[in-house]
């Protein structure tokens, strides 16, 4: 099972704050995950996540190269839009 967490505006875009996927075919790479977002969460979510300002954390570590992401069973992925303060 792989857990995906949506923060800030992305929770609105996803319509929920997290999803869980069971990967029957093993590891998931970046294109696999974007496809899952559009097909199983909400149409357009993949585009929202593609925004260059969205950072990706794997198990609590922000990835320097998000497109190199490989998610395995038990992993937690977080999509982090720009922080908002003020």
């Amino acid at each position: 099972m792989i857990r995906i967490v949506y923060l800030g505006r992305l929770a609105d875009a996803a319509g929920k704050s997290e999803s869980q996927f069971v990967s029957s075919s093993g590891d998931l790479d970046w294109p696999d995950i974007l496809a899952l977002l559009d097909d199983h969460v909400r149409e357009g979510l993949a585009d929202a996540v593609r925004d260059e300002r969205v950072k990706v954390a794997l198990n609590g570590e922000v990835l320097a190269d998000r497109e190199g992401l490989i998610a395995r069973h038990g992993d937690e992925i977080a999509f982090l839009p720009p922080v908002s303060g003020g």
């Binding site: 967490v5 923060l7 800030g8 505006r9 929770a11 609105d12 954390a57 198990n59 609590g60 922000v62 937690e76 977080a78 982090l80 839009p81 720009p82 922080v83 908002s84 303060g85 003020g86």
Partner: protein, 153 residues
């Protein structure tokens, strides 16, 4: 004395600052900043979302940088998450040092980073024309980015 916390419940800054000051005997000065939810026209509530695996470690890393950059005896950094009403405290940063420059600058440094470089997402619930309320995400102000840039030299 180092005290870094995320709080999910309303807090009273005075109950933190008194003990913090007592815990740093021999200090020359303590600077404290308390931020509250402003009573802006039509704002009914503020919600701060965080991502536990990043937000608290990020605050600890910020405290490390403050201790490395300034001569501090103690640092208190407390941030609320969850839903808050106007007038409630959001953040309290207090720095104790031998000299005022370090205490004041450390608070300034921590606040600038908490405001625009910490893992918080903020939205406001505002009244609409028809009497209902809607949530709106808040973007950092330009001023927040220029404040932060002061520390990069």
């Amino acid at each position: 004395m180092r005290d870094i916390r995320l709080l999910t419940q309303m807090f009273i800054p005075g109950t933190l600052i008194g003990p913090f000051t007592q815990a740093n005997p021999g200090l020359g000065g303590v600077c404290t900043f308390v931020g509250e939810v402003r009573q802006d026209q039509g704002v009914e509530a503020l919600e701060l979302t965080h991502y536990e695996p990043l937000t608290l470690p990020g605050m600890h890393s910020l405290a490390d940088r403050a201790f490395a950059r300034f001569s501090l005896m103690g640092l208190l950094m407390v941030h609320r998450v969850g839903v808050m009403r106007p007038g409630e405290p959001i953040v309290c940063v207090s720095a104790a040092a031998l000299h005022r420059r370090d205490a004041i600058d450390a608070v300034d440094f921590c606040m600038d980073h908490l405001k625009s470089a910490a893992w918080f997402w903020k939205r406001e619930k505002r009244a609409t024309q028809n009497g209902e309320s809607q949530w709106h995400w808040i973007e950092p102000r330009e001023q927040d980015h220029s404040d932060l840039a002061r520390w990069h030299s």
